[in-house]
Amino acid sequence: MKRGIKLITFAGFSLFLLMLGSLLLMSHSLQNPELFDQYYSILFILNVIGLFSLIVLIAINFRRLFRQAKHQVIGSKMAIRLVMIFSLLSVTPVLVVYYFSLDFLHRGIDSWFDLRVEQALDNSLELSRLALDVRMRELLKTTEQTAKELSEFRDAVLPFEIDQFREQIVANELTLFNGKKTIIASSSNDTSSLVPDLPGDNILLQLQQGNSYIGLDVIKNAELLIRIVTAVPQFDIEKETRVLQALFPISERMNRLTESVQSSYIKYKELSYLREQLKVSFIIILTLVLLFSIFSAVWAAFYSSANLVAPVKNLAKGTRAIAEGNYDTRLPVPSNDELGYLVASFNDMTDRIEQARNNASASQQEAEEQRRYLETVLSRLSSGVLVINPSGYLEKINVSAALILQIDDASLEKYDLITLSDEYTRLTPFFECISNNIDEHNDEWREQVTIQDNTGEQFLMISGALLTNNNKDVIGHVIVFDEITALIKGQRDAAWSEMARRLAHEIKNPLTPIQLAAERLRHKYLPGMESTQSDTMDRMTNTIIQQVDTMKDMVNSFSDYARAPEFNPDKLDIKKLLQEVIDLFSTMDYGNKVEIEIEQNLPDIYGDEKKLRQVFNNLLRNAVDANASDEDNYLHITAGLISKNDQDMIEIRIIDRGPGIDSSIVNSLFEPYITTKQKGTGLGLPIVKKIIDEHNGVVWLENNENGNGATAVIRLPVFHSAYDFKQNKRQIS
C-alpha cells in the first residue's frame, strides 16, 4: 500500500514537472513561433493529457480518502478537512487572478487595434499606390510611344534595334512577341536572364479587348517592377499581332518605402484577423495554467495533508495500542517541528509507562510472593490467625483458625463479626471477645475464652493487635489465638489427680485403724453384752466396718483415677469388643430390652482393649442405671462409620430411656465428683473421658431429641495404616 502511494506521489510530481515545462514551452511558442512552432500541437496535446491524468490522480485520491472516511480509518476525516482547506485557500486567489487576467487579456489585445491606425495604414497604402500610379502612367505613355515607333520596323530587324529602344526608355527589359507568345525580339539589362518573363494569358486577353496592361509585379528576386504590356499598332490587317512588354525598375528608396508600407499593412491585417485567435490561444494557455495550478494545488493539498496527518495517524494508532496494553509501541519521529516534538514526547511517555508498568509488575509480583509466603507461614502456623478490616469484616483466616474453630474457612471471609456471631452461636463468646476489644480500641490485648458445646469445653487464648500503615492509620486488626483446652484440662486433671491421691492417702490411713478398732470392739465387747445392747453394738460396728469398706473402695477408686494405669494400645476390632460387653450385660439380665445396630465391616481402631472395655462397661452401667427408673427399660446401641473434618471415625451411641440429664450439669458431667447417683463416686464419667481422650476420641452426653432419655456418644478415629499406627502411638505417648 505504501509503495503504491509512493508511486502515485512520484507520478504526480513527475507529471507536475512535465506539465510545468510543457506550459512554459507553449507560452514561448506563442511569443517565439520560430523556436517552438512545430511543437505547439504536441505540447497542447501533452498538456491536455497531463491535466486529464491529474484529474484521474486526484479522483483516485478523493475516492481513497472518502472510502477511508467511510470505514472510519483514523486520520481520514482530518485529511479530508485539510485537503478542503488547502484547496480552497489555493484555488480562490488563483481564480481571482484568472478572472482579472482574462479581463486584462481582452482589453490588452483589443487596445492593439485602433480604427485610426487602420485608416492611416489604408491611406498610406493608397498613397503608395498613387505615387506609383503617376510613375506608371508616364511609363505607359513612353511604352506606347515606343510601340508606335517599333511598329515601323519589320520583325527581322527588330532584334538589332530593340536594345537601343530599351536604353532609350531606361527599361530593365523590353520584349516584343506575337499573339502566341513567340518572342520576336528582346532586350534586358540582366545578362544572366536568358528567358524574358512573359505576361499571363489574362493580360493578353485584356490586350485583345484594346486595353494596355499596367501593373506592379514581383519577378524572380522579389524585386518590385512596373510591368507594362501594350499592343504594337498594326496597320496591315493580315499581319500577325505583336505585343510589347516593358519592365521598369522602381527606385530603391521607393521600393523600400512601398515594401515597408505593405508589410506593415499586412502585419496589421494579419494581427487584426488573428485577434480573436490570439485571445482564444491566450485564454487556452491561461486556462491550462489555471487548471494546472488548481489541480497541482489540490494534489499538493493531498500530499501536504498526508504528510501532516501521518504523524497524527501514527499518534492515534499508538494511543490505541497503549490503551490495549501494548506499551512497547514506538513511533517514528517525522521531523524536528512541533509534530516531531509531540511524537518524541509520546515515545518518552510510552517509555515511562512501560517502565512504570514493569515496576508495578515487579512490585505486584513481589507482593504476590510476599502474600504467598505469608499464606504459607499462616497455613503452617498452629495458631489460628484472623485479619479483620476497620469495618469489622473478616479479611483473612488461616487453616489452623478454621480447624480450631471447626468451621469452613472459605465461608467466613467477607462477613462481619456480628453476622458470624449470629451464624455460629457456639462461637459467640469468641467473636464477642474480639468485637469488644476492637470497640475498646485496644492496641494490644490478650484474653482467654471458653467455648461450650455438647462435646465439652474448648479453651482459647486470644491475642489481638492493631494493624497500622506508615501514617499510623488503622488498616485492620490481627487476631491470633491458640487452643489451650488440652493444657487447661491437663492442668485440671493433674490437680484432680493430686487431690485424689492426697485424699486417698489422707483418708486411707485412718480407715484401717477405724476398721480394726470397730472389729476389736465387736470382738471384745459383743459376746459379753446383753442381747438388747449386743444388737445395737452389732449393727453399729457392722455399719462402721461396711462404711469403712465403702470408703476404702472409694479411696481405691480415687487412687486408680490418680494413678492412671499403663496405656497399652493395639489394633483393635471395636465391633467384637462392643459385642462382648453387650453380651456380658445381656447375660446379667438387668431386665432391659436391648436393641443393637452395628454396621457390618466396621474398620479397626487403635486402642487399649482393657480400658475401652471399662469405658463401655461404665457407660452401659450408667444407661442401665438410668433405665432402672423406667418401666420400659429400653436400651439402644448403635455403631457406625462416619466422616468428620476429613477424618474417618467410628461413632458409638448408647441410648437409654431414663430421665435424661439435668441441663445444669450437662456441661460438667465429665468433671470428677459430679454425679446424680446416690452411691456414685463421681469418677466414672471422668475416667471414661480420660480414656477416650487418650484414644484421641471424643465423648459426650446429650438428651434425646424426643425428651425421653439420654445418649452417650463416643467417636474414635479409625485405624488406617502402619503410618497411622506410628502417628497415633507417638501422639498417645
Binding site: S128, I266, E270, Q277
Partner: protein, 187 residues
C-alpha cells in the same frame, strides 16, 4: 510505347478523378496524373484542383500566408508488412496576397522561385501543377522490384500562425486534403 501506355493510364485516372470531383466542393482534388519515363528517369505530370474555403480565402486576404504541400512517396511493396517508404518528396508552395499590387504571390520552397498572379485561381492552378518532375532513376526500378509511387496534396496547417492552431485543428473549414493516389513504377 511506354509513353502511350502511360498516357492511357493518365487518362483513366483523370476520368476517375473528374467523376469524383462532381461531389467535391472546397477541397484539394487530384485532377490529373501522368507518370512517364524519359531519359531513363521516371517523371510525373500532375495537377490538383485547389479550391479554398471562404474562411481560408478570408484569412489569405487578411495577410495570412498559406502553404500547399504536395507529397510524393516512392514505396516498396512487401508481402506481410506495410509498404516500405523508400523516398519522400515534399513540394511546398507558399501563397500570399499582396495588398499594394492586389496580386497573389507564390513562393516555391524547393527552388526559391517566386511568382505573382493577378487572380487567385491562376495562383492556385500554378501551385497545384507539377510539370515534368523526376521522381526516380529508371535504373533503380527493376521489373520485379515492386515499386510504386503515390501522391497527395494538402494545406499545411503547421505552417499557419501559432495562435490559429487550437482552432484550425478542430475546424473543417481548414481541412484541405487530397487522398493518396498510387501508380506503378514499372519499366
Amino acid at each position: 510505347m511506354i509513353k502511350a501506355n502511360a498516357n492511357n493510364l493518365s487518362l483513366y485516372i483523370t476520368l476517375l478523378l473528374l467523376t469524383s470531383m462532381q461531389l467535391a466542393k472546397a477541397d484539394v482534388m487530384l485532377a490529373s496524373l501522368d507518370p512517364y519515363i524519359e531519359n531513363n528517369q521516371h517523371f510525373i505530370d500532375a495537377s490538383f484542383d485547389v479550391e479554398l474555403t471562404d474562411e481560408i480565402t478570408k484569412a489569405l486576404l487578411q495577410g495570412i500566408p498559406i502553404v500547399l504541400n504536395t507529397e510524393i512517396q516512392i514505396l516498396k511493396k512487401r508481402k506481410w508488412f506495410p509498404d516500405k517508404k523508400l523516398k519522400t518528396i515534399n513540394l511546398r508552395y507558399e501563397l500570399e496576397h499582396r495588398p499594394l499590387t492586389q496580386d497573389y504571390f507564390t513562393f516555391n520552397f524547393n527552388n526559391g522561385n517566386s511568382r505573382s498572379f493577378d487572380d487567385l485561381d491562376s495562383a492556385l492552378k500554378y501551385i497545384g501543377t507539377i510539370n515534368h518532375f523526376a521522381v526516380l532513376d529508371e535504373n533503380l526500378s527493376l521489373p520485379d522490384s515492386n515499386l510504386s509511387g503515390r501522391i497527395r496534396s494538402y494545406l499545411d496547417l503547421d505552417a499557419l500562425p501559432t495562435p490559429m492552431k487550437p482552432q484550425i485543428y478542430f475546424s473543417r473549414e481548414w481541412q484541405l486534403n487530397s487522398d493518396w493516389q498510387n501508380w506503378e513504377l514499372g519499366k
